[in-house]
Subunit: 542 residues, 2 copies
């Protein structure tokens, strides 16, 4: 079972040094500390285990080290920055694992850009040696790229010429959409196994500057100093302690998040609980609570639960989402967060919530939201319902109807990858609905919610259990591949961004290529990499 | 060999009736007139041959019947509009054919929308019976959809539940992006094999209205009348005569377009020639020339050549593009077109040129533009260079250097699917370049072109032949699948539109699913459709 929790004292592959406002994140991959057997992580190549540590380091910088304004990403290995994803790991992995591996590494790169864009931390890739494939994709996720000019070191995306697959971590999209490199130059670069060195790489826009070996450290330091002259903060971080949970064969129980697996029916229940007791009212109280603060802890647990379901439970095709507890408490939490969003910690908590919700949007499983009495799909938790492929809300003739409620956070703090809120995406055809929804009445019972178009179905008590049972049975009987493609198409209506292009276009193409005999067949390029045999292609163009 | 030319008197599957301002395009598929063996086209299901006729009909409406303002798309079969792409055809086709088939049908649907958007012709889908799968996708490409309410007829996208694949002709994207149907409703609809009938289909936005059987024709007629009350034209069409060409085993020679195949090296030369002699100066002269007018004939030939290469020459991975002749003549043609773009025929010619260039953008083969002395990459033909993955321009130390030139048409008349011009897409990072390029000097020799970033490489005479030979050898040695994915990613930087989403996202997902054992394996859903055996899925989610 893959574990997504780690911390700097347990890193095998990275060193995180904090020196005042500057963090140095150095890659130094241990060849033998692999997540699976059958390969060695030579030349700072990586597997999922290496990327889990990178994701952890970025997360910790955000919460534990707000004082850090510049992150220098570099390597401790001589003459090599990073050789990218390990080819033998890819060659021996299942298709599903490869796809999930790429998705996670993409999310990690997007998290770097999210940090840069929204928290203003500047990432400098200090390439003290060659950055190839995923190594260059890591660099291109940073704000600035500096490459040593030692007559040897280069940047490259050699996947197409060497492996017959695409750079799988956003490389192609970031070439033309982020660095806006001319498409013909991007074409040449992406088919050139050896890549480009300092001068030409700079001329083509692949790096920002290049320095001779003897002046490399000085060059990077000067740039760091320049950035810091305009930027400082006196904030003090909080500590992210390990999440704890109880695990049985068919359940995983965190403090606020609980998963129950129905393996024979291939679906899971995932329930998130509202906080109990008094909640903090000021940023100072939030800071004092630290990682025990409900929104931070609950969303960290949700994140871990989603990753667990993705990687460790591939046969679970459907997740039934429930939010249970006190809606008023959730709304009061939202109120405090919204009122204090300028405070660094509140901002980081909101950005984390947004990232976790996007992880859900991008998870290749179906989600149904189930709204029953006692539920609290309110404010930030309403996003879970809006992120679901469908929702079912009980329409009871007797007793209290369940309610769903909006808060200010539903109006912009938790955007999807396409840049819209989930309510905007939902009501593309009727944007005027948003005014109604954010009007005076902000809580809606089943009939109101159905009328407003906030839910999909509102069965009454007589039909409730049957309708949900049948819906689950039907959903889990369908082709899991067709569902993945369908959901990826329907979830992201409206505008596209670099992120949606990476997850939508690039991922889909890569998934296709990862299946093709020319890559993974007996004579495929990926299969034959590093062997004395050579790839033999079926040259028919598709 | 598949032939893409046809005409109404040769249609097997459609009837095109013109009645003043109204055209009725009726589907009446002949079961036995299939493009290949092994299936029957029951229930108005279609194969590529049926869609070639549809594409021809739309094209003829534009050029031959400008007086038509409303097109009613309907069926002559009782109780069935169209059952979509034929499943047995899909089940017995190669992966590459399936992918190319879907792309062509998508281009035909986009051509309907292009006609509606730019030429103002209104398409009404008059569903006199059930429209399922590709049948509903044809309807949703129309502007308005009317469904008979006979207690039986429905609209549906049953691909996911019945076949384990996606609706492959833009259905999912048009649901949420064109008709902007709520994603949860789109989710329900796309997993419901039987689809939805009149009332609910209307409530969910899947159709515009529904009429009982006895009032269906009246209802559609009333809507036609309403549209016509605001729209009329007195234009007279021209005739599109069949294209003629000489074909040998390794060449195809039209009047202005010539293909030479180098099969053993898996590449082709495609040369387009400038017009000779006097060219028309007014819309009236253009109208008189009709389909012999150079831009129309040359681009029709180019279109046919591209389709021929796609479908009939799958092993050709690279096309070297040359434009040869007199640049001044090409520029004077552009000048007349630009000055008269309000004239219906000039507008149609420009729109046709734009569509053919987009067909090139979307062709899964590499394109290199080769610029030598005697070439005429000028104005509209410069788009061929800008659409190429790379360009090579001879830098001669002696004699005349080749030149490339811009015209007004490069500034907006020939947009890519992403809505940008090819020059805008090229210079996303440096939009100010466009001002330079459209400044006083509009023709550029090799050194100027290189300096401006208009070309990729400028080898001198000594290197010219070797450099191009090596580039061709390298390109054709690479994995054809990786190249397809790479080119699809690099060609479309910047914004996305519904069209790019269909070709980029949806196509890529469908390609993936079309390869998966759950669809096409021994136990896959597509393989087992209509057989007594049932699909057995590997339920792992990817």
């Amino acid at each position: 079972m893959i574990n997504f929790q780690t911390s700097p004292d347990r890193y095998h592959h990275w060193k995180l040094d904090i020196n005042g406002s500057v963090a140095t994140l150095s890659m130094d991959v241990s060849e033998d500390q692999t997540l699976n057997e059958g390969y060695k992580l030579k030349l700072n190549s990586y597997d999922l285990g290496v990327d889990i540590e990178l994701a952890d380091a970025i997360q910790r910088l955000r919460f534990e080290h707000p004082e850090v304004r510049v992150v220098v990403v570099t390597s401790l290995k001589p003459r090599i920055f990073c050789a990218g994803a390990n080819i033998y790991m890819l060659g021996t992995s299942s298709h599903a694992f490869k796809v999930n591996f790429c998705k996670f590494t993409n999310e990690t790169r997007c998290a770097i850009e999210d940090d840069s864009r929204h928290s203003g931390r500047r990432y400098l890739a200090a390439l003290n040696g060659t950055a190839s494939g995923g190594g260059y994709e890591l660099a291109i996720a940073c704000d600035e790229i500096y490459l040593v000019d030692d007559g040897n070191s280069a940047v490259s995306l050699p996947e197409v010429p060497l492996l017959g697959v695409l750079p799988g971590t956003g490389g192609l999209t970031r070439l033309v959409d982020k660095r806006r490199i001319r498409r013909d130059r991007a074409d040449v670069f992406s088919t050139l196994a050896e890549g480009l060195k300092g001068k030409r790489a700079k001329e083509w826009g692949l790096i920002d500057d290049t320095f001779p070996t003897s002046k490399f450290q000085d060059g990077v330091n000067a740039r760091v100093k320049e950035i810091l002259s305009n930027d400082s903060t006196t904030a003090t971080g909080i500590t992210l302690n390990p999440l704890t949970f109880e695990q049985t064969d068919d359940s995983r129980n965190y403090e606020y998040v609980k998963i129950n697996l129905h393996r024979d029916q291939r679906y899971a229940d995932l329930t998130i609980k509202s906080p109990g007791g008094d909640q903090p009212n000021t940023p100072e109280e939030i800071h004092k609570l630290g990682d025990k603060c409900w929104p931070l802890q609950a969303y960290r647990e949700l994140d871990d639960a989603l990753l667990h379901l993705r990687l460790n439970e591939p046969l679970i095709g459907l997740v039934c989402l429930r939010a249970m507890g006190n809606a008023d408490t959730v709304l009061s939490v939202d109120k405090v967060l919204a009122a204090n969003r300028e405070h660094w910690l509140v901002r980081e908590i909101l950005l984390e919530m947004a990232r976790v919700l996007r992880r859900l949007d991008l998870t290749a499983k179906s989600f149904f939201a189930i709204v029953e009495p006692g539920s609290c799909f309110a404010g930030n938790l309403l996003e879970l319902l809006l992120a679901s492929d469908r929702s079912y809300m009980l329409n009871s003739s007797e007793g209290a109807l369940p309610e769903i409620s909006v808060s200010e956070l539903n109006a912009g703090a938790l955007p999807m990858s396409n840049g819209l809120t989930r309510l905007q995406s939902r009501f593309l055809a009727e944007p005027e609905r948003l005014e109604e929804i954010f009007g005076l009445q902000r809580s809606f019972d089943t009939e109101d919610a159905e009328e407003l178009g906030l839910i999909t179905f509102a069965p009454d008590e007589l039909d409730w259990e049957d309708e949900i049972r049948v819906a689950i049975e039907e959903r889990t009987s369908l082709s899991p591949d067709a569902l993945t493609g369908m959901e990826a198409s329907l979830r992201f209506a409206g505008p596209e961004t670099m992120d949606t292009k990476i997850y939508g276009r690039l991922t889909a193409w890569q998934n296709w290529i990862f299946q093709r005999p020319n890559a993974v067949g007996e004579h495929g390029a990926l299969t034959n990499y590093g062997k004395p045999t050579k790839a033999v292609f079926d040259y028919k163009r598709t």
